[in-house]
Symmetry: C2
Subunit: 465 residues, 2 copies
């Protein structure tokens, strides 16, 4: 078998290949030339950039055929690798032999011109071949790995929490129902109700909106754990920031209070950004140039900042004294809006901030009640350019307080039997947070629509591919 | 804040802590003693093994309280770390101070005695604290990471293929329907049919059974890619090897034929096994002792073998000539049963084997037709002790051949418009395979029921937690 060199290696180890005969495979990005010679930009998917292949009629029997090789055709090129320090591109391949491994038809939709993002979404099966999406999805892969690497190197256990859930009580949003019943004629009980005892799981089942409650189970066994999996919202929101299917990371730490929680979140964010800047410099340069001019500077600023920590009560005071004309007026007890969050992180602190200790009324039942009886040990991480990117809390570990909170919010303790059990048996203090994976990808790439950082986005009325 | 040492560090870097005063936190596994002193096995979840804490009435004000600390209570222990080279355990902590951070009630279900696997499944919120499940789920996490590491270090792009799918045509098994319609009174068209245009995605939607078709999209952009995500089967099978929700890894490689495919699969399996033997030696020793006596030897044998490659036709001949009395008689054209697979890998070759070139009738439509017109370029990896663990193939990249195969199998080309498009535009040869994540975990741990390698298994009539 011939030894094919990945184009990534040509860029990363150019010297090694200088003046060597090499074989590369890849797809034609552009092909232009005269009747004597031509230039092909060949991309093999292993790297953001393409390599230039120079071919000449003098050396190729099939010059005619190659000069007509269309965009997207797959080639195998044998030739000499030549460093070209004085040219625009750092090197090129002088072809000795080119074989067309697969052709491409003339109506290939991804010709070299600017396409709208909307059009590219319609050809989601081809858009990963464009510069923008090749960069987005490679960065997505690299960030996913950075997240695993960060947690594994810190001895966190990766917990696969369930996707299908029969507990209707996660309480974090509208859920998709899953069923194998015949919708046309579902079985019914004597009372005429749908008979879910005959459904696949013997009861009503849905897609998870969060793995947190199950992650707490694992944290109280392994101390430090994280989830990384898909979650779902059946909300009919058509915004640039909401999708019906998205991925979440939910770390959970036992023997950890809110301060420990924030320490881990801050370290993780910095680790991810450093990792992607180091491991995808070409892609990041591209985003910085074409998507968001201040991107790299902003990310470097985050890596070099100590994140600020401010209470909700202090934040409200700052906003009230700011003299700003907010669309949503500020008073103690409101949920902070993006305009407030961005004002705080961009104008006041000019760096990421954690806002902590929110009014209990606007936060989830499982967050730990502070001694003031009014606030809970929650933390939201706000970053310049976006606003909230992480939401976390110390969890209520006190059986009686949790029981009271559950009753207060109109839920039923029995539905949470195993969650309550965790408080009975070694239910030590513990904390965690949730990071929306697509949110961090948007933040790192400067892409402004969540549909453009998901390979095949699912949104209301859209589940193509 | 006090500097808490993880119990893992005590085991991995014992010398460093010798005679030092340290602080550890963890949960009581056992607590036994007299009225003068006592011993606590303390486990903090960061490591398979526990550390022994020795406490004496002479040094502890709260000796009485500590001597009654029940199993599962959470403690913070300050004391001197002492190497004990002559004792059963390699070191112990002589306690100076012990604080109970969380109590535990007397009816804690996980007392130190043997419980049945069935009982432990009923307390899936507590079983990760047992030796067996602490080992299983830590190995699960380590293997997941090994898989990411293997692919990322080889420059594969991690592709998040969709969980929700509106194409009913993956054809790999029964699917769960997902909906937001009111099952009690669904909207209907004028014809009286369920009106799926009013469902969330504007059409009927299901949970994915495989990400392969979408992975092909990514492979034809990035060359080497892999998926790692949950997949679903709505099959009513109650076996020890089937779950309704499980995780799959599906690598896909462009410019790769069946041989390349097998090379990657073989390298991956060896990488994973090496990684887990190196990074979870205590857990593997436990499995080898209590679950499956020959486990480590069998795994090492796999790492040191060159996997054999044999055609289906040859395999059938070997089976026919074997003189074995199989339950299912062997003739060319049958699907190999586990008894056949295990005979081949355990008795004939005594190592892992790839069986290739299966009859097209028993394989999927997308597998590449061989020149004989009868077989397809499929490969199944069979391993001793289990049978099939990986299924892969070279994909049919020829538009006309694929079209014919789709028609032959009674499907509709239009349903596959984007899959066909891939064959029109640079659809070079490509190959891939699927690995059931739980299958490899069962293989590596020796656990015999898939319900015991999934944190919260989903099976017919079961979706608790």
């Amino acid at each position: 078998m011939k030894d094919v060199v990945e184009i990534k290696s040509l860029f990363r180890e150019s010297e090694k290949y200088a003046d060597q005969e090499i074989v590369v495979e890849g797809w034609v990005r552009t092909n232009r030339g005269s009747n004597k010679f031509g230039f092909i930009e060949l991309n093999d998917g292993t790297f953001f950039k393409s390599v230039q292949v120079v071919y000449e009629a003098e050396f190729l029997d099939n010059f005619e055929e190659i000069s007509k090789a269309p965009v997207a055709a797959a080639l195998c090129v044998t030739g000499t690798f030549v460093l070209t320090p004085d040219a625009k591109q750092p090197f090129e391949i002088k072809a000795k032999n080119i074989v067309i491994e697969a052709g491409s038809e003339a109506d290939y939709p991804l010709q070299k011109k600017r396409h709208s993002m909307e059009f590219l979404r319609e050809i989601a099966h081809l858009r990963p071949r464009s510069n923008t999406f090749s960069a987005v999805f490679r960065v997505r892969s690299i960030v996913a790995y950075a997240i695993h690497k960060f947690f594994q190197e810190n001895n966190f256990v990766y917990a696969h929490t369930p996707i299908i859930t029969a507990s209707d009580c996660e309480g974090a949003g509208e859920m998709f129902q899953i069923t194998t019943l015949d919708l046309d004629n579902p079985p019914r009980t004597e009372d005429g109700e749908i008979d879910y005892s005959q459904d696949f799981f013997g009861k009503k089942a849905s897609l998870t909106v969060s793995g947190q409650l199950e992650a707490e189970i694992f944290a109280l066994a392994f101390k430090n754990v994280y989830t990384f999996g898909p979650t779902f919202r059946a909300e009919n929101s058509n915004t640039a920031r909401h999708a019906s299917e998205f991925w979440m990371i939910e770390p959970e730490m036992a023997f950890a209070d809110l301060t420990d929680d924030m320490d881990v979140a801050e370290a993780m964010i910095k680790y991810i950004i450093n990792y992607v800047l180091e491991n995808a410099p070409e892609e990041m340069e591209f985003f910085n140039k074409f998507m968001d001019k201040g991107l790299i500077e902003r990310l470097q600023n985050i890596v070099n900042s100590d994140f600020e920590r401010v209470t909700y009560t202090e934040a409200v005071e700052i906003l009230q004294k700011s003299g700003e004309d907010f669309q949503y007026p500020v008073e103690w007890g409101i949920d902070l809006q993006t305009e407030h969050e961005r004002y705080l992180t961009e104008k006041v602190y000019k760096k990421p901030i954690f806002v902590i200790d929110y009014p209990k009324e606007i936060k989830a039942f499982y967050m730990r009640l502070n001694d003031d009886g009014k606030t809970v040990a929650a933390c939201d991480l706000l970053v310049p350019g976006v606003g909230e990117i992480i939401g976390g809390s110390q969890r209520e570990e006190r059986y009686d307080v949790l029981k009271a909170r559950i009753e207060e919010t109109g839920m039923t303790e029995e539905d949470y039997w195993w969650y309550m059990d965790l408080r009975k048996y070694g239910g030590v203090k513990h904390s965690g947070y949730g990071l929306g994976f697509e949110r961090i990808i948007m933040y790192i790439t400067g892409m402004s629509n969540i549909r453009d950082v998901l390979p095949f986005p699912r949104t209301p009325k859209t589940a193509e591919f």
